[in-house]
Structure formats: C-alpha cells, structure tokens
C-alpha cells in the first residue's frame, strides 16, 4: 500500500509489481502536505453556488445538503482553482501562504 504511513513495509510484505489491492485507496494518500498555500473560506461571504465544488480536481470541497461546509485540508493540494472559480463579486475564498494561515 503506497501512501504516507509512518511505518512502511519492506519488500517482502508488499504486493508485487506496485499493485494496489484496495479500491478507493486514493483517500489514504494524504496529499495535503504538498501544499505551500491554502484556500481559506469565508462562510459569511459564501453564496453556496458550488462552483468551487464542481472545479476542485481532488474532491476537497466539503458539502452537506447542497451547501458548502468547509475544505478538506488533508487532501487539498493548494492548486488554487477554487479561489479562481469563486465569483469575482463574492470572493468567499482566498489563497493564504501556509505559514500565515493558522489552523483551520
């Protein structure tokens, strides 16, 4: 199993040929640590048009009952597409350097 588990298996204990034997395993690959900048969501400005949800290439926009509820920082790679797609008049998302963001 590829990913960023803290203790990794040796060559005798992993499937041959790089096969991954579990379906839906991409969720276990925590790509959030690739990020240098993160999108920060302002709930008060958000109109829940869900353009960000449509365009996010990683499914990192969290929703509930058709409304945005936050961002999955465990998987968000910080590409910034959601910020780009958020309507100009709304600006509920902005990119912030990781060191200045604080914990979400």
């Amino acid at each position: 199993m590829s990913g960023n588990a803290t203790v990794k298996s040796g060559w005798k204990d992993i499937p041959r040929g790089g096969y991954i034997l579990e379906a839906g395993n991409a969720e276990q690959y925590k790509t959030g640590d690739w990020r240098s900048r993160r999108p920060v969501w302002d709930e008060k400005r958000c109109i829940h048009c869900l353009r960000c949800w449509v365009f996010c290439p990683d499914g990192s926009i969290l929703t509930e009952a058709g409304k945005m509820t936050g961002i999955d920082y465990t998987h968000c790679k910080g590409c910034g597409i959601c910020v780009e797609e958020c309507p100009d008049k709304v600006q509920a998302l902005k990119m912030v350097p990781e060191g200045e963001a604080g914990e979400a």
């Binding site: 590829s2 992993i14 041959r16 040929g17 790089g18 096969y19 034997l21 395993n25």
Partner: protein, 393 residues
C-alpha cells in the same frame, strides 16, 4: 514418442505457439520474425487455435496490447526482432515491472543503423537489464523446446517474470532442420491452465496496476524483481528437468560439450555453438583438450555455476555476438569475467566480438580462437582482452 519433422526455426516456434494456444497474441511483422506471425495467423484463420489475434500498427502497440491482455488475466504472447524490440522498449520494461508472465520469441537481428536484416545479438542484449528472463537457442529444436518451457518458468508463482526466447535470425529462423515435436496433449498437460492470482478482469477483487510509485516504495518493487530473478534459477532447472522426463531432452543453464577434461574452453550462445562443436571435434582428433560451454540462460546470469565449471581451466575465450561499446568487450565477456573475478585459479578470459550484422563464422575461425587460447594458456597472459574476429583491418 513425438513426431519427427523438418521445419524452419520460425515454423517450429509457430507450431509451439499453436500447441500453447494462448488467449491473446498481438504482433507486428518484422524480418526475420515475420514467419512466426504469418504461420500463427494461419492457425488462427483455420480455427486450429482459439487465440484472439490482435493486428496492431507497431511493435510498441504489440507489446502494449500483450501487456494489457496479460494484466487482464490472459495468457498472452508476442514475437519480434531487432528494431521491433527497440520500438517496444518502454513497454518491455513495464511488462517485467508489472510481473506479467508474457513469453516473447525474439529472432535475433542486428539493430540499425546501417540497416541490416541478419543475425547478431545486439537487439536482445540491449534488453538484458529490462528484467526479462532470456533463453538462447542453438537450433530449431531448442527454440521449440524453450518456448514451451518458457511458459512454465514465466508463470511460476515464485517467478512471474516475462521470458524472451532468443533464436538466431535466418541461421535458425529460416533454415530447415530435423526436430521432434511433442504431441499436442502432452504440451497442454505440461503447460497446464493459467490462472493469475491478481488480474484486472477479476471484478470481485478490484485492483490498481500502474499507480505512481515514488521514492518511498519504488525501490522495494525493484528489490522484489531482483528476488524473482534469483527464484527463476531454481525454477528454470526444475522445469528443464521435468521437460527432460517428457521429451528426453533435459535443459539446464548451459550445455557442457567435451568440457569435463578440457584445458581450454569457449563460451558461446546461440547457433555458433553448433559450429564450435565441429571445431572441438577436429581439435580433439589432434589431441588438443578443447571444450565448449554453450550458455542457454543469460538472464538470470548463472554466475555461481559458471564459476564452478570454468575455474579449473587454463584459458577461456568468450564469443560475443554484440558490441557494448564500453571499450571493455561484449556483454557476455564482462559478466563472465566479473563472475570469475577474485576466484583462486580463475583462468585468463579473452573476448572475441564476432558475427555482427550476420558476418559468417566458420569452423576454421573457431579453430583459430582455440589455437590462440593455447598460447594464452601457455603464457598465462593475454595479448589483448578484446578482439574483433573476422573484421577487415
């Protein structure tokens, strides 16, 4: 008893493929492999096999389709030569790395440029580090026998690596030879049914092949391949013995010809071994203790067995039908000498690069090598480690 017939090397290989009846064959014709695909396609057209025959637009596609079929869970084969193998290159590595037991006859032909259709080993030797097992054949009988054994070696649970079965272009592929074919049902029983433990069409157990594999796991997967090559040594010997019980023709890593009491010996692969045997016989009549080691398995390289067999000799000559352009000789020479390095009593080893682009090699050329070896054995030193035999100065 099997049936005694006269066939060309390519006919013999195509006949083995008919008996194997693979689920999928995807191939593109290239001289001198073309007959294999041509004969096999007639078996498909005549309904003698159930194979899905995929005609493709290039060798890159041939190897890709074969890989795909094998990954899906099929028994899949292809065949090629020379520049065709070169065009497959990317997928050749992927097939081995995916641990897919594809069997591919390679009819050895010189690589371009200049363009040349005749035999040398530069094509398969270039692929020596691709992770494929490589078997070399002396004649049509061995090419036929090796193709059948290759299935068992490739598909063994401790191996799961692809196999190239190499035979010399035109010399083997297009010359008519007497050989013995096994009965269809014996071949079928020997190779058995193929069922992979992991395959893409297993809808109940979905899996991913070809995922990104970076610095945290790639190295472990390469280590697994190296171990599979170690395991292949045992499996090749086991399969060779079992094939011997079936056919009367047992196979190992190499054939020793008048080698046990020899003082000087030649190490050679492919059809030249037949010519060298004639030279050995002539020299033996003159009282010269000449011997021959014909290497069948180049990958994995049987270094321990070669060391044990060659260590007591006074001098050894290697014949390389490929140039590595390292300035240190051909691939067989460098690996053999490396195997002998540090061994007390290791003989001096001299390399003769020969036969490039199909340059003919005769009994008298090989007798000259043995005479040169006698001088090396007497002096214990080499004039030059790397020589070009039969090239015009």
């Amino acid at each position: 008893m099997g049936k005694r017939v006269a066939l060309t090397g390519n006919e013999a290989i195509a006949f083995a493929m008919r008996q194997i009846d693979p689920d999928v064959v995807a191939a593109y014709p290239i001289t001198p492999q073309t007959d294999i695909v041509q004969y096999f396609s007639s078996f498909v057209a005549d309904g003698e096999v159930k194979t899905e025959f995929v005609t493709v637009e290039s060798e890159h596609s041939a190897m890709s389709a074969t890989l795909g079929a094998s990954a899906a869970g099929c028994r899949a084969m292809t065949a090629t030569s020379s520049n065709g193998l070169a065009l497959m290159w990317e997928v050749v590595y992927i097939t081995a790395s995916f641990r897919l037991p594809v069997v591919m006859p390679v009819v050895n032909r010189a690589l371009s440029a200049p363009i040349n259709i005749h035999c040398d080993h530069s094509d398969s030797m270039g692929a020596r580090d691709s992770g494929w097992i490589q078997l070399y054949s002396e004649n049509a009988q061995e090419a036929y026998d090796n193709v059948i054994q290759a299935l068992r070696i490739a598909e063994h649970a401790d191996v799961r690596l692809p196999v190239m079965v190499c035979s010399d272009g035109f010399i083997i592929s297009h010359s008519m030879q007497n050989l013995e074919l096994l009965e269809d049902e014996k071949v079928k029983a020997f190779i058995g049914e193929y069922k992979s433990d992991y395959y893409l069409l297993d809808v109940d157990n979905p899996l991913t092949m070809g995922a990104l594999d970076l610095y945290d796991f790639y190295f472990e997967h390469k280590r697994q391949q190296a171990e599979a090559m170690v395991n292949a040594k045992r499996v090749i010997l086991d399969v060779g013995k079992e094939f011997g019980l079936l056919s009367g023709r047992e196979y190992g890593f190499f054939e020793k010809y008048r080698l046990d009491d020899a003082e000087i010996a030649l190490v050679v692969m492919g059809s030249t071994a037949g010519t060298a045997k004639a030279a050995v016989n002539q020299l033996r009549e003159q009282g010269i203790r000449a011997g021959l080691l014909k290497l069948r398995v180049f990958r994995p390289f049987p270094h321990e067995e070669l060391k044990a067999t060659l260590s007591g000799l006074k001098a050894v000559a290697v014949m390389d039908r490929a140039e590595s352009f390292s300035t240190l000789g051909g691939p067989l020479f460098t690996e053999l000498r490396s195997a002998l390095y540090g061994e007390p009593g290791a003989p001096p080893v001299v390399d003769h690069i020969y036969g490039l682009g199909g340059r003919d090699i005769g009994v008298e050329d090989i007798i000259w090598i043995y005479e040169d070896l006698q001088g090396i054995a007497e002096k214990g030193t080499l004039r030059a480690p790397v020589n070009y035999l039969g090239v015009r100065e």
